[in-house]
């Protein structure tokens, strides 16, 4: 048995660096070399669960129907700020099929006396069917005392009691840097609140068996749900089992347990029946998180020839009622460019709106829009090519730590992207379209992000006597294709066909696995799976060596056979398996710590080509070229899909999505998929995806890091820069609506 030891590790998660202790076993192995002949890893594979997903056989949390299950429906506040005076459930309870109505008097652990946003929970109705519960929810009569509120971010910023400084960073002397500047760009950018609108709504189903709770939940982080729910209901960890088999999107909004999880768990115990509590589309838009709206001020100073002398970035993020943390909007300014003098501040601003949550590269999406727009404004002033300006300030070393990167090929992302986009066609002032009123333009923007992953993450692999393998890990596949990647990694080391590798994932009785967030799932768990497979292979070779009467060190595994180095002796693995009968070969692997001496980060560049109708302000995005560097790509097909998804989500953020709040009533006016405008298939442009082929061999034993978030980061700024290039309209507010384009054209 390999010995276990505790190591210190630094992991970057959602733009912040965390130092944690982790338990690891055995020793790590180097990444596959560039010339290694790999059969699975690095090759495009269809999703292992594709047929289930597209045929409707995949069972999601919301599909679950247990015998005797009851349905919970939350009664929500129509007031942005109020005190709950009285809840009268008489009429609701009189409705046939209603089992229970619970409010703060009967369940103080679930409800507060004061509500702070429209949609805040006040009571919950439990009924025999979803429809009965929904009908009864409307019959609950609640008396409120209205209290003063603010929902508008700018209004809240003006109120000091609502503003907290959460992060600040500096290096060098920004004031001196600006004095040394020949040119300064000083601009204010604003971004709208983006709503996740996961296809599968948030929700949970709870069932008790004595003291043991089973919770089916649509989540990105089963183990965090387990921890959170166990704490909330004062249960032991082993008494809570969380299951998330299939999952329909989270984008950061399902990184912990929800109020619905507690409702389901608490009421299922009280009523002695399983409880389902699943959000509807309106609730998805009100209460399950969002990307903060921001107000940002960026100042960039540079010399005449385009060398940055100072950079200042101050960001205010509206976190709604969430006053714990704020996303790192200033992260890109702190770490992207080589500039000696930097100062940044990040403020959290409280408003009477639904709490924000992580949303795919939280902060970096908002901050990159501001920074990379400002870079283009600077390039304009300097009459420099925007790409040349970025190259001029290229950071070879990590500007924050001074360390080398494990891999940085941003220069290749720029040059390959420029080639694919036809950047040489770009002209200052844009080019003509088919009509006099159509103008075309191109823009570029840069992506930096973490995603290196890290421990803890564990996996076991059981090799069955028939030559099939089961990978067991505490992993949830949130739709990004992690399952397939993990199966490819295991199949690679086991020299098995992909269909002989089955995954036993999606529940917390498995070895601990990380949250599917921070672009870190494959980079965290993949190396552990690989080590587990290597462990199985070692044991298998020992068995084969015995049968072949050679030393284990003299044979290797290839193409389903154990082959001896000398003499060419060959033994089919199937024969080994048939001899093993009822034995199980068990392999174990754990994720080892990240290297200390280098910084793990991913880079990329997006190029946008747009057409602007200068009479109506309509923006049509024609093409996005996305070139990313993450080291080894486990599954190129899947990786391409990931980039297309990120670009599409960014496209909505850039031109059509944005929560609309009514300042007078505090309500979200577009809490549905009709008025909240996610791009349709007709809106999605030609998306050209490429990856820099170089491996990130220092990162981990796969040689690659995560891709979940990078593709959503740079797109909005690339589009904004292309619009400015096309027609001179510099839109500093997202989304870039026709109204805003027309307004910018008038300036």
């Amino acid at each position: 048995m390999p010995s276990a030891r505790v190591v210190k590790n630094r992991t970057e998660f959602e733009g912040k660096i965390y130092e944690e202790l982790a338990l690891v076993q055995g020793a790590d192995i180097p990444a596959w070399s560039a010339d290694a002949e790999l059969r699975h890893v690095g090759r495009s594979r269809l999703r292992v669960d594709g047929p289930q997903r597209v045929s409707g056989r995949a069972r999601y949390t919301t599909d679950l129907m247990l015998p005797g299950m009851l349905h919970a429906r939350v009664v929500r506040s129509p007031h942005p700020h109020a005190r709950v005076i009285r809840v009268d459930a008489k009429r609701a309870l009189a409705l046939a099929g209603v089992r229970s109505v619970v409010d703060r008097t009967s369940a103080p652990e679930l409800f507060d006396e004061e509500v702070h946003y429209v949609g805040a929970p006040v009571a919950v109705v439990v009924g025999e069917t979803e429809e009965i519960a929904a009908d009864a929810a409307h019959l609950v009569e609640i008396e409120y005392e209205s209290l003063p509120f603010v929902v508008d971010l700018e209004e809240a910023i003006a109120d000091r009691t609502r503003v907290q400084r959460k992060e600040s960073y500096s290096r060098g002397d920004a004031r001196r840097g600006f004095r040394e500047a020949d040119i300064v760009v000083d601009a204010r950018y604003t971004t709208s609140t983006q709503l996740h609108n996961c296809l599968e709504p948030h929700g949970a189903v709870a069932q008790w068996d004595g003291e043991r709770l089973t919770l089916w939940e649509s989540t990105q982080a089963m183990f965090d749900v387990r921890k959170g729910v166990a704490k909330a209901i004062r249960a032991r960890l082993d008494d809570v089992r969380v299951i998330c088999d299939y999952m329909g999107g989270g984008f950061g909004s399902k990184l912990g347990h929800g109020h619905y999880s507690e409702i389901a768990a608490v009421l299922a115990k009280r009523l002695g029946r399983p409880i389902r509590c699943v959000m509807d589309r309106r609730e998805e838009n009100l209460v399950t998180g969002n990307r903060s709206a921001t107000v940002q001020r960026v100042r960039v100073g540079a010399t005449k020839d385009g060398k940055l002398t100072a950079l200042e970035h101050v960001a205010w993020s509206g976190t709604g009622t969430e006053d714990g943390w704020v996303a790192s909007t200033t992260g890109p300014s702190n770490g992207l460019y080589e500039v000696a003098n930097v100062r940044s501040e990040q403020f959290l601003v409280l408003t009477n709106t639904g709490p924000f949550s992580a949303f795919r590269a939280p902060g970096y999406v908002e901050g990159t829009f501001a920074l990379e727009s400002a870079m283009d404004e600077l390039a304009d002033k300097l009459a420099l090519d925007p790409l040349a300006l970025r190259r001029k300030n290229y950071a070879k070393l990590d500007p924050q730590s001074g360390k080398h990167y494990s891999l940085k090929r941003l220069d290749q992302c720029y040059s390959r992207g420029a080639e694919l986009a036809g950047w040489s066609r770009r002209k200052a002032g844009g080019t003509a379209g088919r009509h006099a009123y159509l103008r075309r333009g191109m823009g570029v923007s840069t992506q930096v992000w973490g995603g290196g992953g890290g421990p803890p993450a564990y996996a076991t692999i059981h090799l069955n006597a028939d030559g099939t393998a089961i990978v067991r890990a505490g992993l949830q596949d949130i739709g990004s294709g992690t399952k397939t990647a993990i199966a490819q990694i295991a199949a690679e080391e086991l020299s098995l066909p992909l269909e002989r590798v089955r995954l036993s994932i999606g529940e917390t009785d498995a070895p601990y696995g990380p949250a599917s967030g921070g672009s870190m799932t494959t980079a965290s768990l993949g190396p552990a799976v690989r080590l587990a497979a290597v462990d199985v292979r070692r044991q298998l070779l020992e068995v084969a060596a015995g049968l072949m009467e050679v030393r284990a060190s003299e044979i290797h595994l290839t193409d389903g056979h154990a082959v001896a180095g000398r003499g060419g002796k060959k033994l089919a693995l199937d024969e080994v398996f048939s001899k093993l009968q009822n034995y199980t070969v068990i392999g174990r692997g754990s994720r080892h710590p990240n290297p200390e001496d280098v910084r793990l980060r991913s880079f990329g560049a997006h190029f946008a080509e747009v057409e602007v109708d200068i009479r109506t302000g309509a923006v049509r995005v024609l093409k996005i070229v996305a070139v990313h560097q993450i080291g080894r790509i486990v599954n190129p097909l899947n990786a391409k899909s990931q980039v297309e998804g990120g670009v599409t989500q960014a496209l909505g953020y850039a031109v059509s999505e944005g929560r609309v709040l009514d300042r007078l009533s505090g309500h979200v006016m577009n809490a549905n998929l009709e008025d909240y405008k996610i791009p349709t298939v007709k809106d999605v442009p030609d998306i050209v995806v490429e990856f820099v082929p170089d491996l990130d061999r220092r990162a981990n034993n796969l040689g690659g890091i995560g891709l979940g978030e990078p593709p959503i980061i740079p797109t909005a700024a690339a589009i904004a820069n292309a619009v400015a290039n096309a027609c001179g309209a510099r839109v500093r507010t997202l989304p870039i609506t026709p109204a805003r384009v027309l307004e910018a054209l008038r300036r």
Binding site: D613, T616, G617, R663, L742
Partner: protein, 320 residues
Amino acid sequence: MKSFSYAKVATAEEAAGLLKQRNTRLIAGGTDLLGLMKERLIEPDRLVDVNGIAQLRGITATKENFRVGALTTLAELAAHQATPLIIKEALADAATPQLRNMATVGGNLVQRNRCWYFRSAEHRCWLKGGPRCLAVDGDNRYHAIYGEGECRQVTPSDLAPALIALDATVVMRTDEGEDSLPLAQLYVAPTARHRREHAVGDDDLILAVRIGGDALRRHATYLKFMERATWQFAVVSVAASARLVEGRAQDVRIVAGAVANIPWRVKAAEDLLAGEKIDDARALAVAERFVRDARPLRDNAYKVAVLRELVRRAVLRLKD
């Protein structure tokens, strides 16, 4: 959704009888009705399903007459070979394929508006009996740029402006029997006494829409402006038609959708084109005249610019 009883009828007479009952609603495609019921904006006790009335379905077309039954779906209308081009243009961007497969012509013409204050169960707007229009001081980016009334909602239908540009008439069955009137007259800006976007009563039945021969031979076009490529109610739409006599426009109709309580025409702008050759300068002058009296709200001045441009382009397209 509140529980309701449901009856399916086979004839218009049967339907008319049942619709006289209190708090009863007709259901055809249901694409708007069910949304209103789910949001609890209406809570009928009874639904009368008219989908079984065979004679309300289908299209009859001759050289002189185009008649579409009220139960014909938008998809069927769009696909029919005799359907005028302007109608096909209007339907191409209406809603989504799924909705067009369900939604009927009759239902499309009397659908309720999309104002987000009206559609929110938690806002008691003027149209729903409240003291004032909430859009006036609220977020009014999609609201009216014309009209004097209290309510600032705008017409949602893509079909209505296109049909009005072809002088379509609507055949109805009311208390007084069968009646035919110009479609444009169906739309009446809501008043304090009649807080409704149109003159069709809950117990009236739309039987068909008819377009006469002259109008079928006009040049006509429909332009719709949205903020995404599909699946959005018009931010602004323009239907225009004219007969061209030796290159000069006659019988000019320019009908804007989504800019006022009712499909909006500006007679002076149409007159500016009547009897004239269509060229760039004329098109621009007509467009300028069309928007001259627009009175945008705080958030929707851009709609005036969009409308001006759509009118200009629509007029120019009449040349082809």
